[in-house]
């Protein structure tokens, strides 16, 4: 029996205590005796052959201990790993952590200095002389695929082509009364976690301890062993307090591998801390797709078929999951809609830009943007209210579980309920009336309404499915519950929090299951020596996978305690019943043992039943059968000044269905932050390059993260349709806000301007772009 007094409760967070008082352990805070500072010299060229690198002058600079070029590591540095060879014939070029022969993006590492402090290290970089022979940059995906294009890699500029099809697409498009064909562009984004990356590596003999600002200490440990040849058991990875990730720290980086190699070479501990402008060029970027979309529909709006043809910019190299990111979208273009046929093709393209990889949502925001945007374009074509068009095509609540055209089976959902709630909170009909009035009066400030009835797949991921998609690892998660003699509980989780609030939410789950006070539970994570098994945190997986592993471990503890309680009470186990926190004799509730008493009796082990081991501790590993499918309806109203192009978000309503909510404070926080990032893609952010391949947005003065003054107060609410695929009914919430919000905002901007003849505005919808779109439409 499960009584939930904690799940659903808005607990303030345990982890706040250290974070609001500055008692944090960011990687850059770590000091060790004799710690040396590393600085990397990075290529200022987008594409060049390296004729020579001379570090000798740097070696003699004040405070410098060592300086190295790629040649110094050539024999041992291997190639940075890509764990997702999506097709058998994928082109996966070697990726040396420190370039040796050729550089392929501005920011690629070509040399390093190791010095006594960061100022000395930075100074000495100036003494390194690199002779580059410039090669032509490759910056445009379509041009990169043309015959005779300069090559990023010897093997060419196409990494792979991946296809999926279901249903008779020709039939769907043949004689279709309405066909909408569009090309959308997903601009390149920079994740910009507030904590820049940092790594410390300390060698002791042939053992290495690495602290890294990473989302994936467990994956990193495996990959360090594979790349460097250091036996896995001799590597300990610690992710201490980590200041946000959003996918950017779901990576095995050149800097991490090199920190280990440098520490090994010197036999001394080293630290590297990134500057923001260094990070903007060197942390992997996100998005960057050209999306060619074709939708066929009947006159009444019923969808017949959807065809998607993507070009996805890999950047210069394939990083950990680079090729797979756009494919996570392959199953999401059809979203919540029913249709007869679907085809998807993605071509991965190399360019001489920073590599791309997972950024919050990873493939699903791109897909969601395209389909929601296309639905609005289709509605405009049909002269139909875009909300009505969605209603006519979505999977009805009564139809779940439903297997979509892309082959996923959605276990649960209630699009009607979420939409009804959002429409009510938003005041949809009144806003449409105001829009009509403004249009009629020719108001210079026009009102637009954007709709996103999104779903996503998260809880990554069923190992079996990952295997089918050629991903190299599994998608399970691990948890341990340790019952301490005093009745307190230590929980070890393989997911690795960096802002999500696991210490609080995991305590709530355990408190409910074991019936112990929330305060008596401590959650440990992020250190491979403390938490030896794990798949870490990304893809909104912590709760939907790691939380279920934890639930499983609790059930095992309860079962183990039953046999011990029966022995202590001298009754048969069948005569016991579990009330939260206590095994008691059925029909005689005064006779029982609390989990704390059982824990102490197990510790003493004086009179345990025959054959029972003296431990209540349990491990569990959970591998989900399927993904989870959060969904919701987001409505955005914008005011667009048609004279200046300025866009102001007037109201934003997000009604999300993330299943069972463990902690509403945390869920709301995830939604707020997700919305901010999705809105930022719609209105503010873009990683821009010049014609030579230089990143123009290297600083936060050029790459515009929204501030508090740029964002509205969001109205958030929830419907709760529990997932049927796991015992807690949870779905995950880390990425939903980002996935949902971008199309809602962009479509609101376009909705405001359709009467002026505007049919599209390229993201980010800056005042200049909006103004220009209005001018061009008038022409």
């Amino acid at each position: 029996m499960t009584v939930t007094t904690e799940i659903g409760r808005a607990r303030t967070r345990k982890e706040d205590a250290r974070l609001i008082t500055g008692q944090t352990t960011w990687t850059d805070n770590i000091t060790l005796p004799g710690l040396l500072q590393v600085a990397f010299l990075r290529s200022p060229q987008a594409h060049a052959r390296i004729r020579s690198v001379d570090v000798s002058a740097a070696r003699g600079a004040p405070g410098v201990i060592a300086a190295f070029s790629g040649a110094d590591f050539a024999a041992e540095q291997g190639s940075l790993p890509c764990a997702w060879p999506v097709t058998p014939d994928i082109v996966m070029p070697a990726h040396p952590p420190m370039a040796t022969d050729e550089v392929r993006y501005v920011g690629e590492i070509v040399a390093c200095v190791v010095a006594r402090d960061r100022y000395a290290a930075a100074d000495a970089l100036e003494f390194i002389d690199v002779d580059y022979e410039p090669l032509p940059p490759v910056l445009d995906m379509e041009a990169a695929l043309a015959d005779g294009a300069p090559k990023v890699h010897e093997q060419g500029n196409k990494s792979y082509e991946w296809v999926f099809a279901n249903g008779d697409l020709d039939a769907a498009f043949r004689d279709a009364p309405v066909v909408v064909e569009r090309t959308y562009r997903q601009q390149r984004l920079i994740p910009c976690a507030m904590e820049p990356r940092a790594v410390v590596c300390a060698p002791v003999g042939d053992e290495f301890t690495m602290w890294s600002a990473t989302q994936i200490p467990h994956v990193l440990r495996v990959m360090l062993a594979v790349v460097t040849g250091v036996p896995e058991q001799n590597i300990r990875v610690i992710a201490p307090d980590v200041g946000g990730g959003f996918g950017s720290k779901l990576q095995v980086t050149a800097e991490e591998v090199l920190a280990l190699l440098i520490a090994r070479k010197l036999g001394r501990p080293v630290k590297w801390t990134e500057s923001r402008s260094e990070g903007n060029t060197a942390v992997h970027h996100g998005r960057d797709q050209i999306q060619r979309i074709k939708v066929a529909a009947d006159r009444d709006g019923r969808l017949r078929g959807l065809s998607v043809d993507l070009l996805a910019d890999m950047g210069a190299y394939l990083m950990l999951v680079t090729p797979g990111v756009p494919l996570l979208g392959a199953f999401m273009f059809n979203a919540i809609y029913k249709m007869d046929a679907y085809s998807f093709k993605c071509t991965g393209v190399f360019t001489t830009k920073t590599p791309t990889d997972a950024y919050r949502g990873a493939g699903r925001p791109e897909a969601t943007f395209a389909i929601e945007h296309a639905m609005d374009d289709l509605a405009a074509e049909l002269g139909m209210d875009p909300l009505e068009l969605r209603r006519r095509n979505w999977i009805a609540h009564a139809e779940f579980p439903y297997t979509t055209i892309s082959g996923l089976t959605y276990d649960s959902g209630n699009y009607e309920a979420a939409t009804a709630r959002a429409v009510e909170l938003f005041g949809y009909d009144d806003l449409r009336k105001e829009q009509e009035a403004r249009r009629a009066s020719g108001d210079k400030v026009q009102l637009g309404i954007g709709i996103s009835t999104y779903t996503e797949m998260c809880g990554l991921a069923p190992s079996r499915l990952l295997g089918q998609l050629a991903y190299a690892a599994g998608g399970w998660e691990h948890a341990s519950v340790r019952m301490l003699p005093t009745g307190k509980v230590e929980v070890v989780t393989g997911s690795s929090a960096h802002g999500q609030g696991h210490e609080t939410a995991w305590s709530q789950i355990v408190a409910d299951q074991l019936g112990v006070p929330f305060e008596d539970i401590r959650v440990l994570h992020g250190d491979t020596q403390v938490s030896p098994k794990g798949m870490d945190t990304y893809g909104s997986r912590s709760l939907a996978v790691g939380g279920i592993a934890l639930y499983g471990a609790c059930q095992k503890v309860i079962e183990k305690a039953k046999a011990i309680a029966a022995g202590l009470l001298e009754v048969s186990p069948e005569d016991l019943e579990w009330t939260p926190g206590r095994w008691q004799v059925r029909g005689d509730p005064d006779k029982g043992k609390t989990i704390g008493e059982i824990a102490f009796a197990t510790f003493a082990a004086h009179d345990l039943p025959e054959g029972v081991e003296p431990s209540l501790d349990c491990d569990a590993t959970y591998d989900p059968d399927t993904f989870s499918f959060p969904h919701g309806t987001h409505l955005c109203a914008v005011e667009v000044d048609t004279e200046t192009g300025q866009v102001k978000i007037r109201s934003y309503v997000a009604v999300d269905d993330v299943g069972t909510v463990v902690n509403p404070l945390i869920v709301d926080g995830q939604v707020h932050g997700g919305l901010a990032q999705g809105i930022a893609q719609a209105l503010y952010e873009e990683a821009a390059y010049d014609a030579d391949g230089n990143l123009l947005t290297t600083t936060l003065a050029d790459y515009l993260l929204p501030s508090a003054a740029d964002l509205p107060t969001f109205v958030t609410d929830r419907t709760q349709t529990p997932a049927t695929s796991n015992p807690l009914g949870v779905k995950g919430v880390g990425e939903a806000g980002t996935i949902a919000s971008t199309p809602a905002v962009v479509d609101a901007v376009i909705d405001a301007l359709r009467p002026l003849g505007v049919t599209d505005v390229q993201m980010p919808c800056t005042p200049q772009r909006v103004w220009r779109a209005i001018k061009e439409a008038k022409r």
């Binding site: 303030t12 402090d117 923001r276 932050g673």
Partner: protein, 167 residues
């Protein structure tokens, strides 16, 4: 090297530093006050905000030598036996996730409330424009600052803000 003396969170420090050393590096690497983090290198993010003689500064854009003789308050010196009302409000309103921007955000908010004890929501949003957060969308940060300020005309209210409001 140049001699500097300053009081950091109530403790006097005397050191010889390079004239070019940034105050934030002095705080973190010389004085060992690592509660103040660095988030950028162009004075945009505000993570390193501290109070210098009571006024907020981004400590990445002040040289240690410029702080000679000053009194510095960092996030580590804000609590006086018990949490500062802003620290408590940030906790109660769930105004932080990863927590990296939090020290700077709280110090900037402290200066904002010194200047304007009962700001409107819009004044809070504009007052914190120089501090970036990537996790929260700012919604709960704004609420926390308003909560710490308490209703207008009720100075001191913040310190008794109810515990239950978050649940």
């Amino acid at each position: 090297m140049t001699k500097v003396s300053m009081t950091i969170d109530g403790v006097r420090y005397d050191d010889d530093v390079e004239p070019r050393m940034l105050l934030v590096h002095y705080l973190r690497e010389v004085a060992g006050r690592t509660g103040t983090p660095v988030g950028c290198d162009t004075t945009n993010c505000g993570a390193c905000t501290v109070l210098l003689d009571g006024m907020s500064v981004k400590s990445c854009s002040v040289l240690a030598v410029q702080a000679d003789g000053a009194e510095i308050t960092t996030i580590q010196g804000l609590a006086d036996g018990e949490l500062h009302p802003l620290q408590r409000a940030f906790h109660e309103e769930h105004a932080l996730q990863c927590g990296y921007c939090t020290p700077g955000m709280i110090m900037a908010a402290a200066d904002l409330l010194r200047d304007n004890p009962h700001p409107t929501e819009q004044e809070v949003r504009e007052g914190l424009e120089g501090n970036l957060c990537r996790c929260t969308g700012y919604q709960n940060i704004v609420r926390a600052v308003l909560r710490a300020a308490g209703p207008a005309g009720a100075a001191g209210q913040a310190s008794t803000a109810s515990e239950g409001a978050a649940s």
